[in-house]
């Protein structure tokens, strides 16, 4: 066990009657990381989070949070996590400040500490103007912030947020995301989502899940890099066709090329480099050398979305394509 691991999950399996929600899951999250758990609906994200927050026990395997086992040392674990479940359930008849005080007391904070922390999270989550209002009367965005404030009120080491931006309007999503990003300075954050830009914007690392298994785990950039082996370089060049063809034939870096006539007398070429090599500088040099006119030079990049779609496509579907 390493000291800086916040979450250690090994071989975690959770079986419900008739199906396996999580099967043989293993991953580690270091302190201070913001990790996104990404996957289609029913991939086992919520189940994993429920196990980590000691709400459900695992069928087999182990999970440790801050070095404490979630099964045998549940109290220690619960003290250290702030968990916001999916759909953010709240006591709708309570007032915001009253609710946060109640939650803080429940989490074992003393009187003065409760008062200080509640004021702090109210400010942090932008709830100052609604502190006295009844939660049930608030807009969805504010409710979400109350849920976040609740997750943060006892200064947990680990914050687990299950779909924190679901059902919000774009500007609310942006402010919640910014809040999550700011959390990364003091807390370890694990968020689940199926919204890709969210992960790209907020997370330092992504775990992609499908059918209870982890398919990929890396930083968003690395994932893009590894998946961009077949990235193409696109160029539009004004040059005789024969020159272009002979040029591409001679170059060892090019694995495959495709030539088509474009608007004007330009040619549009799509080049695939060996090992996903970036061909843009080579093409620029060639154009300069031969005096060709170049009007476009770009490289197709796989977005996280492509990676995600490719990884999470069910196997049966893959075969038919």
């Amino acid at each position: 066990m390493t000291d800086d691991a916040m979450i250690e999950v090994s071989n975690l399996t959770k079986r419900f009657a008739g199906y396996e929600a999580v099967s043989g899951l293993s991953f580690t999250v270091g302190r201070g990381e913001i990790v996104g758990l990404l996957g289609p609906n029913g991939a086992g994200k919520t189940t994993t989070m429920r196990i980590l927050s000691c709400f459900l026990p695992a069928t087999s395997g182990s999970a440790r949070v801050a070095g404490f086992d979630v099964c045998t040392q549940a109290d220690e674990v619960r003290r250290r996590i702030g968990y916001m479940p999916e759909n953010n359930p709240l006591y709708l008849e309570m007032r915001v400040r009253e609710y946060l005080r109640f939650r803080a007391r429940l989490k074992g904070l003393g009187f003065t500490q409760t008062r200080q922390r509640v004021e702090r999270v109210i400010e942090q989550c932008g709830l100052t103007e609604v502190g006295k209002r009844i939660i049930g009367h608030l807009s969805k965005g504010y409710k979400q912030r109350v849920g976040l404030a609740d997750a943060l009120v006892h200064e947990p080491e680990l914050v687990i947020l299950d779909e924190p931006t679901i059902g919000l309007d774009p500007s609310q999503i942006r402010s919640v995301r910014q809040l999550i990003k700011d959390l990364g300075h003091h807390h370890t954050v694990l968020i689940s989502t199926h919204i890709l830009p969210e992960v790209e914007m907020t997370c330092s690392r992504v775990l992609i899940m499908r059918e209870g298994k982890i398919l990929a785990a890396d930083t968003p950039e690395n994932l893009q890099r590894t998946m961009s082996k077949d990235a193409q370089t696109i160029a539009e060049i004004l040059a005789p066709r024969e020159d272009l063809v002979s040029c591409w034939e001679q170059m060892p870096e090019i694995e495959h090329y495709d030539l088509s006539a474009a608007e004007g007398s330009y040619y549009r070429v799509a080049l695939t480099g060996v090992d996903g090599q970036d061909l843009r500088p080579v093409i620029f040099d060639l154009a300069k050398e031969h005096g060709w006119q170049l009007r476009e030079l770009s490289r197709t990049r796989h977005s996280l979305e492509d990676i995600y779609i490719r990884l999470t496509r069910p196997e049966s579907e893959e075969e038919t394509f």
Binding site: F55, L56, R79, P85, P89, L90, E93, F102
Partner: protein, 249 residues
């Protein structure tokens, strides 16, 4: 302990902040008022050898008890399960026992509060008749002990029914059926032949109707206290097991 008190306070405030708590109290007061009218009718008749409190424990008391108990308890667990707050509650550092006991305590406290107007009725009666002998405070005390013990049993029963489901209606119906079932045991004994068998013996010990009559006469029998407290303990234990069952289900 802090978690227990915090939770109890929240549960209690949810009774008094929402309209529901007052609706239950109002209904109880209304029925107690009717009770009072019938009591006055009785007192105008021939002298009887029963206490004033005993007169109360005919039909209305049981009607109020059997209906108000499921209404008070149905929401305790099932609403939290339905709205999902059960998850946020159980992921804080509180034990299952603390949650069960806090909800039980709050419900019991509220139940006793709904019966406070009864004392008012009796005191008014004493004041209006100008007859101090009518009101025996000891009898009133033992009556409240009886109400308290019955409350323990019915609240624990309601907790158990509520913990099992996420539907308030199912919870209310289950606890009503269990509660009424237990109450009807008091009368089943009459259906048996006169000779004593172990069945009739057992049933007669479990006759809550007779227990309550004794309490309202001022008779405090420790067997009754043991009976109610042990059954309450049993149902609270069942509730605890149901709450805990998410861990092994």
């Amino acid at each position: 302990m802090q978690a227990y008190f915090t939770l109890t306070r929240r549960e209690l405030s949810s009774f008094f902040v929402s309209f529901m708590g007052y609706a239950v109290i109002a209904a109880t007061v209304f029925l107690l008022g009717l009770c009072m009218i019938s009591l006055i009718e009785k007192l105008q008749g021939d002298p009887a050898s029963i206490t004033v409190t005993e007169c109360f424990f005919g039909f209305y008391f049981w009607l109020i008890l059997l209906f108000s108990a499921p209404v008070i308890t149905m929401r305790l667990f099932s609403l939290e399960k339905y709205s999902g707050t059960f998850e946020t509650l159980m992921t804080t550092p509180v034990s299952d026992w603390q949650v069960v006991m806090a909800k039980f305590t709050a419900a019991l406290f509220f139940f006793v509060v709904t019966w406070l107007p009864l004392a008012g009725c009796i005191l008014i009666l004493g004041y209006a008749t100008n007859n101090p002998a009518l009101i025996d405070y000891n009898v009133l005390g033992s009556t409240y002990l009886g109400i308290f013990l019955l409350g323990c049993l019915y609240m624990s029963l309601g907790c158990f029914a509520s913990a099992m489901t996420s539907s308030q209606i199912i919870a209310a119906m289950t606890s009503f059926a269990l509660g009424l079932g237990l109450f009807i045991l008091s009368f089943i004994v009459d259906q048996f032949p006169i000779q004593k068998t172990w069945i009739t013996e057992t049933l007669s010990y479990m006759s809550m109707y007779n227990h309550m009559t004794d309490f309202s006469r001022g008779v405090i029998d420790t067997r009754y206290i043991v009976f109610y407290l042990s059954l309450t303990g049993f149902f609270l234990f069942l509730t605890y097991r149901v709450v805990e069952s998410r861990r092994w289900k």
